[in-house]
């Protein structure tokens, strides 16, 4: 038996009041420096950011923080959750969650980086709260996604919840190792009943920000967009369209071989794209 090795990631539970109720959220962090707040995809949890939290070069200059949304991972749903017919995430709630966590942790104008639904909410945050964030990084970020399948299949008692993982499995690109591919899918298999579906309410219905992208002032809050080429949920074309609508020199970087979960499916490939973005934020 070999000696065990602890990773530098520290996980703790944060108690805070938000959305009018007490909440208990699971938060992981590592490193010190500029706060980098990371938002996971719909139906998953903060383990998607394990590689960034474990990267000594990034954590030497950034305090990397990733939390599980309420109802996700090791974060609890608020008390009384059993009385709700279905969980459903709205844009207003999602904004309040991110700004509440940032304030509750006393973060000073963090960089916020989110993927998929997280990549969408960072656009809302850049628009509505530019003074609270020094920059936003959108991964698989677009203004809107039209429904392309019936999400009722994600939450019904005669279909096992692992269907959530099966639905997203093709969103992972060919550059992923088998280990990272199935780690990413395992997080989906562990999602609570109806949670992925409820997140998609924000993604496909309530979170459409297309008409307002041009109002984002990147002089106050710079926007960086990175998207994997195999993503058919938020496609490279969707990200390019968002970048064009934001304007002001906003670029869409398309990452070859990657899909919808770059930080989790191909950490090494993704970090090669992320480091230059972090350099620019650090130097600005």
């Amino acid at each position: 038996m070999s000696a065990g090795v602890f990773e530098p990631i520290v996980g703790r539970y944060l108690r805070l009041e938000m959305l009018g109720k007490p909440h208990r959220l699971y938060v992981e962090e590592a490193g010190s420096g500029i706060p980098l707040l990371c938002l996971h995809t719909a139906g998953s949890d903060a383990r998607q950011y394990r590689a960034i939290l474990n990267d000594p070069e990034i954590t030497s200059r950034f305090r990397v923080i990733a939390f599980d949304l309420p109802w996700h991972g090791k974060s609890s749903p608020p008390e009384g959750w059993q009385l709700l017919p279905e969980y459903r995430l709205t844009a207003a709630e999602y904004r309040e969650i991110v700004t509440s966590v940032s304030k509750a942790m006393g973060l000073d104008r963090p960089v916020v980086m989110g993927c998929s639904i997280g990549g969408r909410i960072v656009l809302h945050l850049a628009l509505e709260h530019p003074e609270e964030f020094r920059a936003v990084i959108g991964l698989q970020s677009g203004g809107h996604v039209d429904p392309y399948y019936d999400t009722q299949w994600l939450y019904r008692p005669d279909v096992h919840g692992e269907v959530s993982a099966a639905v997203v499995s093709g969103l992972i690109g060919p550059s992923a190792t088998e280990g990272n591919r199935w780690e990413t899918l395992w997080h989906y298999m562990q999602g609570g009943p109806g949670i992925f579906k409820g997140d998609l309410y924000f993604y496909k219905v309530d979170g459409d920000i297309r008409p307002r992208l041009g109002e984002i002032d990147t002089g106050r809050c710079p926007v960086y967009l990175l998207t994997g080429e195999y993503d058919y949920s938020c496609t490279p074309e969707d990200t390019k369209a968002a970048a064009a609508a934001i304007g002001q020199g906003t670029e869409a970087v398309i990452m070859e071989g990657m899909g919808h979960f770059p930080m989790s499916e191909d950490p090494e490939g993704f970090l090669a794209h992320l480091r230059p973005v972090l350099d620019r934020i650090e130097q600005s």
Partner: protein, 119 residues
Amino acid sequence: MIEQLAERANDDALLVHRGRFLDTTFLLGVGDQDWLVRIVDGRVVKIDQGPFVMPRYTFALRASAADWDAFWSAAPRPGFHDLFALIRFRRLAVEGDMHDFMANLFYFKALLAKLRRTA
């Protein structure tokens, strides 16, 4: 080529195990050519080539021959690499009672990928 599906699927013990509760017949439409695929306990037990008179099946997966060919290439390009990618871009139609398909989605994604040219 479609005829090879049974051997390739049934040789994969993990796939058969994944489908151990699955009994269904689905129609595979490759352009104008229809096939009926019968699955019992996760094993492909029968493949019939159309045309059919009054075919009976639970659901159908239909795409053009060119789109299936791209999906079955050794390294499919983006948009052709997964059944849901084909659905997203309106290249694959899933018709009928798709409960078996959705409840066993990992199975059907892996089953159809068995026809990839390197498989």
